[in-house]
Symmetry: C2
Subunit: 345 residues, 2 copies
DNA sequence: ACACATGATGTTATCGATGCCAATACTCGG
DNA sequence: CCGAGTATTGGCATCGATAACATCATGTGT
């Protein structure tokens, strides 16, 4: 009973079914659907009608097996609640979808090379055409080198692989904007609560902060370190608030900044009257917690879209020269910063 | 030159290459790798050795074409920054990965049925074995019914399809916990800022709030409405803060709650001394903004894991009876709520 | 020692789309 | 009206893994 229709078998319609209904060969259907030039307009119409009638949809597995193209890209991220890591995925999915690509996510719980290797391998298994590494990867293993060499890869915000193209927000610039803003307000110096040193964006912010101070001839005070969480901002605040003469702090994330502010309040310091605070990210609450937070906004959506664009270019043309791209952050002044009080000097 | 090795052709090794190296047939390799019982231990070892030597990895496209199993599930979410919508995806990816499944995300920018149809269709095209709808879908179209009938589907937090199994946090309970907490503190009544009415969790919270008040013999005051954003909480706060006798507010999300609190401050009302506020979600900042927020924590990770578990069960056994599951939220009392001041009555 | 049950392995066909090449249908110039 | 030349179209093999069936080897009971 080979001639039984697909409906009878319960299987979804295949190209052969479309061909039968349209009265053409399978090949012609394939060409009609993928926009091949040499298909007569009339034939294409017949095919499209048949497709419509049967509710036919291309089988991606078959196409992928034969042509190697899956129209899917992979996204490696760290599994976390931190705002910045989340915000960027939204931009990526959006841009990918607009280009007709699906996004398969592989989250990793840690920054172990082996965990990242695993994530990359899983994506490779699923036949992704390219990968976006949105992970602040520091230690690059042999295996990662291999995997990223065999698949087009874009790294967001750093990584030390030579093989991969990088799209990044200019975090050094972010730190400069924040630090200079505080100096411009007349503060003697600026303290810094950094993110974990394994994170490239954290270390770039730290560098930007240090360089800006040095350019102005100030000696950078010792750097404090957090883990991005509000709790770590709070813990550092309990220390910082006890040090006399601290009047300005640049914090590497908004969430830590609010933790800091809370600790300062508990120690009886007012923000911004006694101490000015600047964060990074511009989370939704930055404007609505008290005091509203002066911060450096990160163009997450733009970064994601740019990463996808570069990746697709690399997929289309494997030999395209890597073109590092960077996106500019933007200072948003709100109520957590104020001019330094005239010092007794 | 059929015998040329794969390395020479540049193609990644296929099962046939493994078979050649191991000195067995392709079928045996397949069996060895998928844990089929009737393969001698010695043979399996030879196969594994060959796999290791060649760095062989299964081609998912081929497996999927032949067996229909893609080991991928789809996730439909609304593209948004709201914390709650994001937090759940993390739990899902984690659970799916542990079960050996990959997650393909399809975000939608709106709750239009057509947008959701599109997302489902894209996922279906990519051959997902099942779908998690993490979208508070209200209007269910014909096409959505069809799609969800042909693919195992789990809905998180609602939807009106009969065909799909639902995993949900008990939002009515969340509202009851919050409302009762405020009543227990002696407040005469509790006001409510709800989320958008198209969201099932928003309307469940509203219902829970209303019922609890009625059970206690109070007449629910008029309900205010926000859009989940801090800004909408702020806007509602500017109204609410001008109404005399408001002493307790239950807000449908933490982010709106902080917006509300800010507006109240600007109007000269103190939280919790003048007005008590309870939110929902327990975002990371809930504890660290001022005042720290009393809120109802949502077990996001647990919900995600449960959804995946149910989905995989449904995939494994299509006839399994739908078993609605619900997860209990938990009240966390912090500093934004206080006993009602003895009223002049 | 023989027949049969069971276990282990091999062979062949198949999933659905597409690349390559051959075949047919059409165009136009002379 | 014919043949060269191009526009369309069809046939076949193929991608890699697996289901179904066939075959061979091993062990067991009587």
């Amino acid at each position: 009973m080979k001639e039984r229709t697909r409906e009878a078998t319960g299987r979804p319609p295949a190209m052969a079914d479309v061909a039968r209904v349209a009265g053409t060969s399978v090949q012609t259907v394939s060409r009609a659907l993928s926009g091949h030039p040499s298909v007569r307009e009339k034939t294409r119409a017949k095919v499209l009608a048949a497709v419509d009638q049967l509710g036919y949809r291309k089988n991606n597995a078959a196409r992928m097996l034969r042509s190697g193209r899956s129209r899917t890209i992979g996204l490696v991220t760290l599994q976390t609640d931190f705002y910045s890591r989340i915000a960027v995925t939204s931009g990526i999915e959006n841009a990918a979808h607009e280009a007709g690509y699906a996004v398969t996510a592989a989250t990793t719980k840690s920054l172990d090379t082996s965990a990242i290797e695993g994530a990359l391998a899983r994506l490779a298994d699923h036949g992704v055409e390219g990968v976006i590494l949105a992970v602040p990867l520091i230690h690059v293993s042999q295996r990662i080198e291999e995997l990223t060499r065999s698949i087009p890869t874009i790294t967001i915000d750093g990584s030390r692989t030579d093989a991969t193209e990088v799209v990044a927000v200019d975090q050094t610039m972010a730190a400069r904007l924040a630090t200079r803003h505080l100096l411009d307000l007349g503060h003697e110096t600026v303290w810094h609560i950094a993110g974990p040193s394994e994170w490239l964006d954290a270390s770039s912010r730290s560098t930007g902060w240090r360089l800006t101070l040095e350019e102005e001839g100030r000696t950078p005070p010792p750097e404090l370190k957090g883990d991005w969480s509000p709790a770590s901002g709070y813990a550092n605040g309990l220390v910082l608030g006890r040090i006399p003469d601290v009047t300005a702090v640049f914090v590497a994330s908004d969430e830590m900044a609010f933790g800091l502010i809370r600790a300062l309040h508990e120690l009886g310091k007012r923000v911004p009257e006694d101490i000015s605070v600047v964060g990074v990210d511009d989370i939704a609450l930055a404007e609505y917690c008290s005091p509203s937070l002066t911060t450096v906004a990160q163009p997450f959506a733009e970064t994601g879209a740019l990463a996808v664009a570069h990746l697709l270019r690399q997929i289309a043309d494997a030999d395209a020269a890597p073109a590092p791209a960077s996106v500019e952050p933007r200072l948003i002044v709100r109520a957590s910063t104020a001019p330094a009080k005239a010092s007794g000097g």
